[in-house]
């Protein structure tokens, strides 16, 4: 029995020492700074990307620089990789919210900012950052990170999803590619719904298969990449309060936009099932893809002739294109609001923007850098930048955003699978969204 008790005590001691080891390292660093006499301010940052990821590396580098610029400040960046819904990073954040142990700074999907603000978890950065600092970011970033009159989250870069097209197939099918004086397909030359349909039918006849590739399944992709098709027709998914879907999701404009998408599937323009690498393998002439596809096509399909075209629009003059990414925010749990806000700005500053453009080809999120951007100064990439700067439409600011995202996915997937009429799919979606919204009213 004595042996068992001894073993038990030793185990506790070993586990205890092991648990302390990580914080002990940080503590040693703190002690060095504490020796200078002043209080050491510890700031914790949780990010969703791995330390080896360009974004992860960037956060580490900026944190280090921030420490060097401030005496008696320690910044610890913890990389908790997001592995899926309810796991990894999100799981850790949920647990920290429950136990009231959120770090000073977190990263979050910009579209979830409203629900975090609704729960009073985030710090309004504009109260601590000067106007010049906030103004240096692209309007699209400030809009996406704001809820009401306050700014809660920032990022050094943004994404805008492009629509790819194959000029060779277009020419072979006899389609005239719109171009400005410099031969570029600019934003103001975007096709309307009708022009898109007309040309897609020509492509279909030439190719003998669905000429346009879209991802039809229910995922966050629908909100990111396909909701702009609805927004460009002045359609909305949810009202200003972020809770009412009745009157918005079933408005005339939204239904009209969804019917346009229905036509794409019904007329055999888009395949109801995702076709892997359809564009790269020239099985599709137009493709709605992520911006990372540019790198894939450049490296893996060097012989493919590709370019970018603007998103089709519904109502004249209402172009809309995807944007958004993970943002950085300060939490209300921080003991040092001013310093933490400054850290958020530092983690997303111009140096970060430059680094992320170089490392990952992301659009720099600071106005000052746009003119000097090497990657985004020339077409076709410039079109992505123009889309972001000129035609962004902020996604719904809603405490029930995950539900709104899901119901849009349900609708598009239902359309693709011919499950029901657009009207009935929308009514089902409203019922689901209203049920969730009722908990917040």
């Amino acid at each position: 029995m004595r042996k068992i008790v001894s073993l038990f005590m030793i185990s506790i001691l070993v586990f205890g020492l092991a648990a302390c080891s990580d914080s002990a390292t940080n503590q040693a660093a703190s002690n060095d700074k504490a020796n200078s006499g002043d209080e050491v301010k510890e700031l914790k940052v949780w990010v969703h990307v791995a330390a080896e990821d360009p974004e992860g590396l960037n956060y580490d580098l900026r944190a280090k620089e921030f420490e060097e610029k401030h005496e008696n400040v320690n910044v610890t960046v913890e990389h908790i990789v997001k592995t899926g819904e309810g796991s990894g990073y999100n799981d850790r954040i949920n647990a920290a919210i429950t136990t009231g142990e959120l770090p000073d700074v977190i990263t979050l999907e910009s579209v979830h900012t409203a629900s975090y603000v609704d729960s009073e978890l985030l710090l309004p950065l504009n109260e601590y950052l000067d106007e010049a600092t906030v103004d240096s970011y692209l309007d699209a970033i400030v809009k996406a990170g704001s809820v009401g009159d306050n700014l809660y989250a920032l990022q050094s870069f943004d994404l805008s999803s492009p629509v790819f097209y194959n000029p060779d197939i277009f020419k072979a099918a006899g389609i005239e590619i719109p171009a400005d004086a410099n031969g570029n397909w600019t934003l103001d030359l975007a096709w309307s719904y009708d022009e898109f349909l007309k040309n897609a039918k020509i492509l279909k006849e030439y190719m003998g298969q669905e000429p346009v590739h879209m991802f039809p399944d229910n995922s966050g992709w629908q909100m990111y990449a396909h909701s702009p098709i609805i927004f460009s027709n002045d359609g909305q998914l949810v009202g200003e309060n972020g809770l009412d879907t009745d009157g918005y999701l079933n408005s005339k404009n939204t239904i009209e936009a969804l019917k346009f998408m229905e036509t794409l599937f019904r007329d055999g323009i888009v395949s109801p099932t995702a076709r892997e690498n359809a564009f790269a393998l020239e099985k599709a002439a137009i493709s709605f893809e992520g911006p990372w596809t540019i790198d894939v096509l450049t490296k893996e399909y060097p012989d493919l002739n590709w370019s970018l075209m603007p998103y089709p629009y519904g109502k004249e003059g209402h172009n809309s294109a995807p944007h958004g990414s993970w943002y950085v925010a300060a939490t209300k749990d921080t003991k040092y609001p001013e310093l933490t806000s400054e850290l958020v700005a530092y983690l997303t500053n111009k140096d970060s923007a430059k680094a992320m453009e170089e490392a990952a080809g992301l659009i720099p999120g600071h106005k000052e850098l746009l003119a000097s951007s090497e990657k985004y100064s020339e077409y076709p990439r410039k079109l992505m930048l123009d889309q972001l700067v000129e035609s962004e439409h902020v996604k719904p600011k809603s405490p029930i955003f995950p539900v709104i995202e899901d119901v849009l996915g349900d609708i598009v997937e239902g359309i693709a699978l011919e499950k029901d009429s657009v009207e009935n799919l929308v009514e089902d979606a409203i019922e689901k969204a209203e049920r969730e919204a009722a908990r917040f009213k």
Binding site: S119, S219, R275, D406, E436
Partner: protein
Amino acid sequence: MNKIRRINKNGSLGFFLSSKFLFLLPAFILIGMFVIYPLILAVGYSFTDYYLLKPDNISFVGLDNYFGIIEDKYAKQSFFNSTKYVIYIVPLQVALSLFLAILIAKKSKLNTFFRTAFFSPYILSIIVVSLLWKNILDPELGIVNVFLAELGFSKQEFFGNPDLALQTISFIILWQGISFQMLIIMAALQEIPSSLYEAADIEGANAWQKFRHITVPSIKDQLVFVLIVVTTGTFKIIIEPLVLTNGGPQGSTSSILLYMFEQGTRYRQIGYSSAITVVFALILIIIAFVQRKLVKEE
């Protein structure tokens, strides 16, 4: 030691000081921490509007969450899907496990190979199995569809077709789970005295009669165990639909647990999610009780 024995005889305190209890203590602590305590919490939360992002703002809502489940067609769809999984998987898994166990119960080199081969899927993680089958059944590049195309059949969307996705996932679960049940039945088969079969041979019994009157009654307890484990296990399916289809298309593969998980983690409605958990736990208890009762009465 003598002192403990004396207390044991004279009062219940003795049990807690006995070595039997001390050996069980770690298990009691773990069960208490990871089963009893969460269950009590779930029951408690199921009567509240606990929203994950507002942990300090919980109110009592009575039976609202439970009424919510009745009105929630997506919850009902998930319950219905879970029942479908059980209908597709349980009878087949029990029958095939029994069949395979009988086939390879006898000791021989060939059977040793088959035992290893049949058991190998079970040692793979569910996620690995799911991803493996996702590749095998890929609509464009999967070997099954390539083979179908070679034979002149049209390619199938095994996971993208709402009429096929649930059956496909059921098949994968069946494929992986069958070997473990087979092993349990095989162990039971090996415990049947060979004298029973020898006596039956002398009496002139045929294979079916031996199976019906000797094999099945001898392994009845193990079969009941397998039946209960497979039924409750099938009701608890979550990882396969999560990895393969995320409950889609159109909720056609979502299970009760997956729906509960989605409500809790994605929508952050812990109160509602807890109510689903409680209903689910009750269903499992009732099923296990009924199965046990029916077999006992028989």
